[in-house]
Symmetry: C2
Subunit: 337 residues, 2 copies
DNA sequence: ATTTAAAGGTTAAGCGCTAAACTAACAGTA
DNA sequence: TACTGTTAGTTTAGCGCTTAACCTTTAAAT
C-alpha cells in the first residue's frame, strides 16, 4: 500500500509539499514540482487515506443524509425518497463529497453517527416536527433541512412552495367545476409539509365559496388501502367529486382501490396527486399532479450546504421552489348544473 | 469533544483498558471495571472517532455498495435498485456497518474509493460482464456480487434463479395457451441476468414445441417507449399473444403504451413482468409477475459478507434464491383452437 | 517452598495525514 | 548596505485510536 510518505521519498520532497499538491494549496509549490509530484502520484496509483485525512483535519468528506423513517417500511419503497436521495447522491459525488445515508424513526443514534464520522455537513429530509428537540443538538455542523418547515436557528432550509401547491390544486379542481372535495394526507399529524398543502388547498377554495368539512380531510392514507373506509368516504350524502392526495403514491393507490370497487376515475371521481414521479404516467388514467423538480432541489441543497461548509459565518438561508401543474387525465371537467 | 483519553483519565485507567471495554475484548478487564467504564462513557456522551479507529485498524466499518449505473439516469428511478439498496442499508446498519453508496458506469474511480476509505467489504449490484477486467482489482476486500453471473476467483455471489424464473414464465404462458411469444429484456447485451432469463424462457417453451424467433427477442426496452417500434412488433403477421418482460418497470411501461394504442391488456395481448415490486399492484390490469424476495436477498448478502469479513480464509460461496409466480390479471387464458 | 499460569492491567509505538511555525534563498527597494 | 517581502520549501507536533509487548499480583499446582 503506497502512502504519502512513499510519494514524498520518491519525489525527494517533504510530506507537506506532497500534501500541498494534493490539496491544491497554490503558491506554496512551484509549477515544476507540482507536475513532477502529480506524475509520481499517477504512476504509483496512490490514493489518499480518508481516515487519516479526516483525523488530521477534524472533518471528513462525508455528508450525512438523514431520512425520516415511517415505521419499518423500506425507506426507498417511497418513490419520492428514492428519487430524491438518488439525486442528492449524484450531486454530492460530483462535488467530491460522500453521502452517509441514514434513516431513523427516533433520531436517537443520529448524533453519535454525526460525531463519530466527523461529517462535514448534514441534509435532513422530511423530519417530523415532534422530533425537533432531539434534533437541535444535531446542527453542530452545517445543515440543510428539506421538506419540513420548523425553524432551528442557524439551520438552512430548502423546500417546495407547498402552500401555493395546495392552492393550485384547489384552483384547478374548482376551476374544473368541482365543489365537493376531499383531501388525503400522507401523514398530516406528523408532517408540517402536509399541513401547508392543506392550508393552501383551503385558501385556494375560499374564492369559490367552498369549505372542506372535517370528514373530508383524511390525516393518513389508511383510507386508500381499505375498501370499507373508502366506501364510507365515497358513498356519503355529500360524497366528493374530486380528491386531492398529497403524494402520487397515495393517489395511485386510491385509483387502484376505487377501480377495484368499480368506481371509475375520472368519470365518477377525479383524483389529483403531488410530486409528478414516473409512476404518475403509468397509472390508469394517467395522473394529473403537481410537479416538483427533484433534481433541481437536490442541486440547490448541495450547493447551499457546500457554501455553508466553506464559509461557516454565512447567515442562514431559506428557499422555496415552485411547483407546476401537470395536467393528465385523472380529473374530469364537470358541467355547470 | 470528549475522547477516549478523557474517559481513561476519568476512570483512572489506561486508554488500552477503555479500548478493550469498547471493543468487547473479553477476559482482559474485570467485570467491575467494565461496568464503571461503561457508566462513564454513557454519562459523558462519548462517541468513538471512526476515522481514528479506521486508521489504527487499517479497516473501517464501511461497506461499499456499488451499483451499475445505466447512462445518466437517477439510479433510484429504477424501483428495483431503490428497494434493494434500501434493504441493504437497513441490514448493514443492523449489523453495525455503514453503507457507502456508489454508482458507476465505468468503474474507473471505484478502486480509489475502496482503497481511500479502507472499506471492510463491498457489495456489487447488477455489474455488467464487460466491466469484468476493471473489477478484478476491486476484490481486494471481501466481496459479494449480486445480480450477475460471471465468476471472479475468491468473490462470493448471491442471485435469484433467473433460469428457472424464465422457465416458470414460459410454462405459465404456454400453459395458458399462448404460442406466439415475445421477450423484452432490460439490457440483454449487457446483463447476463437477462441472458439467463431468456435461456430459461426458451428452455421452458421447448416442451410445448414453441420457438422464439429472433424478431421476438428485443434486447432493450426501447420498444416499449416508442409507439412506432411497438406497432412493428404487435402488428406483424405472427404477432405475439403474450410478452414477457424481464422487469416490472418495463412491463408497466409496455402496458401503458399498448393502452395508448388502444390495444387492451390482457384481451389483445398478455403481459408478464419480473420482480413483483409494489408498482405491479397499481397497474391496470394488475401485473402477473415473478416475485423475488428482496429483503431476504439483502439479508443473505449482508450475512454472507460479514461472515467473510470475520473469517478471511472462508472459501467462496454462491447462492441462488428461488422466485415465485404471482398471478394477477395481465395474462389471459386462450381457448384451445 | 517454589514454580506456573491466569487475571487484570500498563506502556509505548504507530496508523497516514495536516498545519502551524519555521527557514533559506533571492529580488527589490529606501 | 540593510531591510522587507516573496517564493518554495522543511520541521515538528499532533489528530484519536489500536495493539503488541511487557508488568504485577494472586491463586493453584507441584
Amino acid at each position: 500500500m503506497v502512502t504519502l510518505k512513499d510519494i514524498a521519498k520518491k519525489a525527494g520532497v517533504s510530506m507537506t509539499t506532497v500534501s500541498n499538491v494534493i490539496n491544491g494549496n497554490q503558491g506554496r509549490v512551484s509549477e515544476e514540482t507540482v507536475e513532477r509530484i502529480k506524475t509520481i502520484i499517477r504512476e504509483s496509483g496512490y490514493v489518499p487515506n480518508q481516515a487519516a485525512r479526516s483525523l488530521a483535519q477534524r472533518e471528513s468528506r462525508i455528508i450525512a443524509v438523514i431520512i425520516q423513517a415511517v415505521g419499518k417500511e423500506n425507506i426507498f419503497r417511497n418513490p419520492y425518497t428514492a428519487e430524491y436521495v438518488g439525486a442528492l447522491t449524484a450531486e454530492l459525488y460530483q462535488n467530491g463529497y460522500y453521502p452517509l445515508i441514514r434513516y431513523t424513526d427516533d433520531y436517537r443514534d443520529v448524533e453519535a453517527d454525526l460525531r463519530g464520522w466527523n461529517v462535514a455537513g448534514a441534509i435532513f429530509s422530511g423530519t417530523f416536527p415532534r422530533h425537533l428537540k432531539n434534533i437541535k443538538s444535531l446542527t453542530m455542523v452545517p445543515t440543510v433541512f428539506t421538506d419540513c418547515y420548523f425553524r432551528i436557528p442557524g439551520a438552512n432550509h430548502v423546500g417546495v412552495d407547498d402552500v401555493s401547491g395546495g392552492q393550485m390544486a384547489a384552483e384547478y379542481l374548482a376551476g374544473m367545476g368541482h365543489r365537493r372535495l376531499a383531501f388525503i394526507a400522507n401523514s398530516i399529524d406528523e408532517s408540517d409539509v402536509d399541513q401547508h398543502r392543506l392550508e393552501g388547498f383551503r385558501e385556494g377554495l375560499k374564492p369559490f365559496g367552498v369549505c372542506l368539512t372535517d370528514e373530508s380531510v383524511l390525516p393518513t392514507p389508511a383510507t386508500v388501502y381499505d375498501r370499507e373506509l373508502l366506501k364510507a368516504l365515497v358513498e356519503r350524502e355529500d360524497r366528493p367529486s374530486a380528491i386531492f392526495c398529497t403524494a402520487d403514491r397515495v393517489a395511485a393507490q386510491l385509483m387502484k382501490t376505487l377501480n377495484a370497487m368499480n368506481i371509475s376515475v375520472p368519470e365518477d371521481i377525479s383524483v389529483m396527486g403531488f410530486d409528478d414521479l414516473p409512476m404518475a404516467e403509468i397509472t390508469t388514467p394517467p395522473l394529473t399532479t403537481l410537479r416538483q423538480d427533484i433534481e433541481q432541489k437536490a442541486q440547490l441543497v448541495v450547493e447551499m450546504l457546500i457554501r455553508h461548509i466553506r464559509n461557516k459565518e454565512l447567515p442562514e438561508e431559506r428557499t422555496l421552489l415552485g411547483v407546476k401543474l401537470v395536467e393528465r387525465q385523472s380529473v374530469k371537467r364537470l358541467m355547470e348544473e
